[in-house]
Amino acid sequence: MLAWLAVLGPGLVAANAGNDAGGISTYSQAGAQFGYRLIWTLPVLTVSLIVVQEMAARMGAVTGKGLSDLVRENFSLRVTTFLMATLAAANTLLVISEFAGVAASTQLLFGGHVWIKYITVPAMGILLWVFVTRGSYKRAERVFLALTIPFAGYFVSAWLSKPDWGSVVRSMAPSVGGQAGFLVMLVALVGTTITPYMQVYIQSAIAEKGVTSREYRYERLEVVVGSVFAVLTAGAIMLCMAATLWASGRGGAINTAAQAAEGLKPFAGQFASTLFSAGLFGASMLAGAILPLSTAYAVGEAFGFETGVENRVDEAPVFYGIFGFLLGFGALVTLIPGLPLIQFIILAQVINGILLPIVLVAIVKLVNDGELMGSFRNGPVFNVIAIGTIGVLVTLSTVYLGITVLGIFGIAL
């Protein structure tokens, strides 16, 4: 039990960082527009998430290195540079959306004043900088774990919304048919649940934490628990919306997490709505810390700069420079009035759609490298599952990419 608590962190944090502001918006839309019909995807998503995160975690424990380290050492410099450039671009755009999440949620929590974001966004940016830069990995991780607590609010909100459990059970029989919008939503769910920065983060975090192959069995359990918790959260959000806005036929109006929190109020009460907003706040803060941090790790590892929160700022200037730039840039851009935030998120999704297949293929290739992984490389059975999962994910993310790009040109399916 003690050994298990000692490894607790990277798996839970990485999986929950995937439920970011954009993710909560997507889950809200899925529930509000399609009710219970997408619930069946959740067990499938859980398995896919576990398979992908587990491989990255295993590589971190066995090699003691981050994903970017291994990419740089085993692929060409050009591939490495391309990966880092796309990852940094996508993450930068996503940081903006996280701070938008902080702005929206604090506005809801503190009485709806629009100006409140000019205080909360810079304050939270500074707070994240302080938490991450002033100490050890352990201390930073404790903050991240604390930020996952508000996610529990979604379970209470879901319960307060009184979902129709019969429908939940019936929805477990997969249904795909219907409008094209349904397919788009399905693909969006996958795209938002499994994002490249999650694999990059979990591997770097495990390497920095110093989890070894000997302790790996505990870490694996944590990856599973983290993934299950993350997808359950997504399910709770979908249930909230399904039981209220979808059931009353008003689900079409929901586009953002903040609208979802507002829309919940007449049905499940102020308390449920507040919990929903608090969850959005925690999610935005967590991803707002993890995105800049994983970018800093990735770029530093790939190009040979000192990385790690154990260092002082003057010992790892590039690492903290990237981290600080992303925090500052994200917070500042969010505060520019009238900026098309939705466009940023779409662009980030397009870049991630290009990035995810490359990252996943790289993971499978590396994790099967006997020289690197020794007896910890994928077994034949797991490999079939892994390659199958990744095949599906790559296909879906390519479809998602196609749909999003078409959408940019005004063509909707």
Binding site: G64, E73, V130, R142, G210, F303, G304, G308, E310
Partner: protein, 453 residues
Amino acid sequence: MRPAAQTPGPNVAGATIWHLSDLIGRSICTESGERIAQVRDLVIRVRSGGYPPVSGVVTRSNWKSFFIPWSHVESLDQTGFHLHTAQVDLHTFSRRDGEMLLQKDVLDKQVVDLKGRRVVRSNDLRLLYRPSGRQPAAGAAADGNGDRAGRGRTAPTLLLIGIDITTPALLRRLLPSAMKARVESSTVIDWRDIEQLASESPGVRLKIDHRKLGKLHPAEIANIIEDLSSNQAEELFEHLDDATAADTLEEMNEELQADILEDMDEERAADILEEMNPDDAADLLATLTEEKRDELLRRMDAQEAEDVRELLQYQEDDAGGLMTTDYVAVPDSMTAGEVIDHIRSLEDVPDVIHYIYAVDDLETETLLGMTDLQAVLRANPEARVREFMRRDLQTVPPEEDAEETAKIMSEYNLLALPVVGPDGKLLGIVTVDDAMELLLPDQFRRQVPRVFS
């Protein structure tokens, strides 16, 4: 390529400097000028000292790797590698132990920069090419390449002289060739200041003795190891001698200490623990599981293990947890001359002898007074310790709060403070270095606001 500005060794006329990234992909031509292949990699043999010469070129054809020994190479210039034979019998290349591929095993990998005391990634490699010359130079024969070219001519050599860790080196590799030439990078780490990590090239068994690293200060070794992955750290520790390994461990944070010790062979771990100061060894053992702790104590030398066991009973945040059993105690009936002989004959001498404690006898160790080395040296050799020792002592019980203990030491300007049991028995001493850590202001210890702890 520019002629070399400063190059090592004698006979440097016409020497040129090359980047590995620039050599990879160059043509290999026969005597008649026919291009037969492209360079895919360069082979060197791992050896200690000096700059390693390239011993062969690896090329690929029909999905197979072939090896051309360096002795076939006549010259190297902008048009490529020129062989002095018309025909080459290509040997299928398979790696042998101790052979290293520059592109596969060194480029883009992590190495230790001994001068900068840090872990760096090699963004490019620098090689020095010395064309064949008429004058046989003393240095060439020592390279072991022999006199292949014959008749008083020295063979051409290509030496690995350094690695480039700068960002311009990366740019040079990424930019199209027309723009490459404009990118300059000036800082190159001399290859002799580089320690390679065998675990970076898992495909081949490299025997690297890490002798160079062992010469650094333990605090610097600890800093380097903190930047390494667990596999790399394990590799380095294997090659440190027990005493250096112990000193290095003492310089690390507890968590990393425990990780490294747990990964180690138990017999070796016990040897290292014996070399550590008992208080540090006890602190480290306290973080391990009970099972592991007992196993390691069992393997340790009985006397050392006993000391550590005693210290393990105390809480970390009281004087007992802070103290060490590494002190010098003598019976108060000893003469000053005998004390000096006694210290000379000690097997385990403390790092620093802050004070010498006078006790009734070495069995019961009831503390009676103390003196210091200077007083012993200046006293009449026949004078007994009890005649010149100080009797007004500051002592603390083992339950005393650690911070309070540190405060007493700073108040009385003590280098060490004895910890005494209720029966007056000397249990250990708290030394100034351990106490200091408690008194340093928080910002020196880089702590976050303790909101979540």
